[in-house]
């Protein structure tokens, strides 16, 4: 499995197939039992997510990795806070931060009246948008997204997809996990199928049609039967 610069790799698989676990290994949360991780062709061993971040790999985790009791601004910049002043007088620059966050959220189509409310007061979708905005803001070389659109409305989901593609044109590599075959086929360049922890092959967009993809994701003919049923009722 590899992701190139300027490419979107979609990872697909059933619930519990091990997609999130794979992602966590890639971004340094879990150490891999076996297998190697190559960045720019050289093998690396991330001992912590900090290493991965330092390599320009930003991740949106399925559980979003937010601190519920902290404010929106502080969550956005957590671990990479903007500062003012020098030496012992170095301090947070929250005003500058608010401007950035407001702009980034507006670009995602999210309006928040007050950026100092704790994240726990946001809706599920707003939280997800915030996590994505953060990753996009900091994702220098590789962007890893675990079901980024699951709680988003149609409009916001569209905006996220547009961002993903923008990232690609900027030369970023993107790894996208999604259960929405429409989304996947719309933006993905290559597709990797995962089943119960093992890789079942990777396909280029040219090699696989959308319907084939949907069938594969849904477990074959079962879906057709279901759609039939649903239509009938």
């Amino acid at each position: 499995m590899r992701v190139h610069a300027s490419e979107i790799l979609c990872v697909l698989g059933d619930n519990g197939a091990g997609k999130s676990t794979l992602i966590k290994t890639l971004s340094g949360v879990h150490p891999p039992d076996e297998g190697r991780l190559l960045v720019d062709g050289e093998p690396v061993r991330f001992s912590s997510p900090r290493d991965a971040l330092a390599r320009g790999i930003a991740t949106v985790y399925q559980d979003l990795a937010m601190v519920p009791m902290l404010s929106v601004v502080r969550n956005f910049f957590l671990g990479a806070e903007p500062t003012r002043g020098v030496g012992p007088l170095r301090r947070l620059d929250l005003r500058e931060g608010e401007v950035v966050v407001r702009a980034e959220l507006q670009r995602m189509g999210i309006e928040l009246r007050d950026l100092s409310v704790p994240v726990s007061a946001l809706s599920g979708g707003q939280r997800q948008a915030l996590a994505i905005a953060r990753a996009i803001h900091f994702g220098a070389r590789v962007l890893v997204l675990d079901e980024p659109t699951s709680a988003l409305g149609v409009k916001q989901a569209g905006i996220v997809l547009r961002y993903v593609m923008e990232a690609r044109t900027r030369g970023c590599g993107v790894i996208l996990i999604t259960h929405n075959p429409h989304h996947a086929h719309m933006v993905g360049d290559r597709f990797t199928l995962l089943n119960r922890g093992r890789c079942e092959g990777t396909f280029a967009k040219a090699d696989i049609t959308r319907d084939e993809l949907i069938r594969r994701m849904a477990g074959g003919e079962e879906l057709e039967q279901l759609q039939h049923e649903l239509r009938a009722s």
């Binding site: 997510p49 990795a65 601190v67 009791m69 902290l70 957590l78 806070e81 170095r90 301090r91």
Partner: protein, 329 residues
Amino acid sequence: MSARTWLARPELGVVAAVVAAWLFFAVTAGDSGFLTLSGTASYLAIAAELGILAAPVALLMIAGEFDLSVGSTMAASGMTVALCTTELGWPLWGGIAAAAALSACVGLVNGLIVTRTRLPSFIVTLGTLFILAGGTIGTTRLLTGRTQVGGLEDAGGFGAAQKLFAGQIGPFSITLLWWVGLTALATWVLVRTRPGNWIFAVGGAPDAARRLGIPVDRVKIVLFMTTALAACLVATFQTVQFRGTDVLRGTGKELEAILAAVLGGTLLTGGRGSVVGAACGALLFGMVQQGIVFSGVDSDWYKVFLGAVLILAVLLNSSVQTRAAEARR
């Protein structure tokens, strides 16, 4: 700050409780000296020492850890100062430096064990509590055959140290200045700097913090060390002021400091809290303790009043916060 922001502050409740406690004692004990300058100085002196401990303890609790070894670190560092000067004949400053080094080590060891083994800090620091307390007793008895060491006034540099650590400003103790200064510093670090942001994150969502590249372990270790150093500072105050120390010094201070922090709105489970709140908590506790003495309650019943006033204060505290939350909506 707007009225709305003020109402949102977690310290509001404890400030209200402090005011209420002051009014209560002004009425019940006003004629027996509670309101005089020296009466005020007397509870401020207690609050100052507790407050200096409570500030780092609050930070540590926000980061999700406890330190139960605060009290015995006080005993150990006070005794280090005393033994170095009286037994080894060092100048006072040497003794203080040795005590600071010792307590920094204690904090480091606490932090390393907690972060490396992921054991609950409650147990680890209870272990160091026992070890330090026992070590202080054993060493002191071995060297002096006693459990109290005095005679610090003969040590070199005592005069300067006394001005700095045990001086008076009018009727007030100089520890008040230290308290205000350290509280301001800790508040600034907590709400205005990167490490402060990390402290909240480390306690509020450790996994998320780790995933975002925050050096969770380093933050905790530094906080353990800060707490131990604060204990050393308070021990130095007491040792210099009373020109000696004993092996019991500081026993139970760890719980008082935690109490002050919780009174000030710090969550026991981490992730939320305030240094100013902890300072108010220390003030409340000192005022209640001392106010009961001023009001002349029989000492048999002292603790009953302490407990009752404590519960009333937190009830007031929480009801003010609930009202404020409602008013904000």
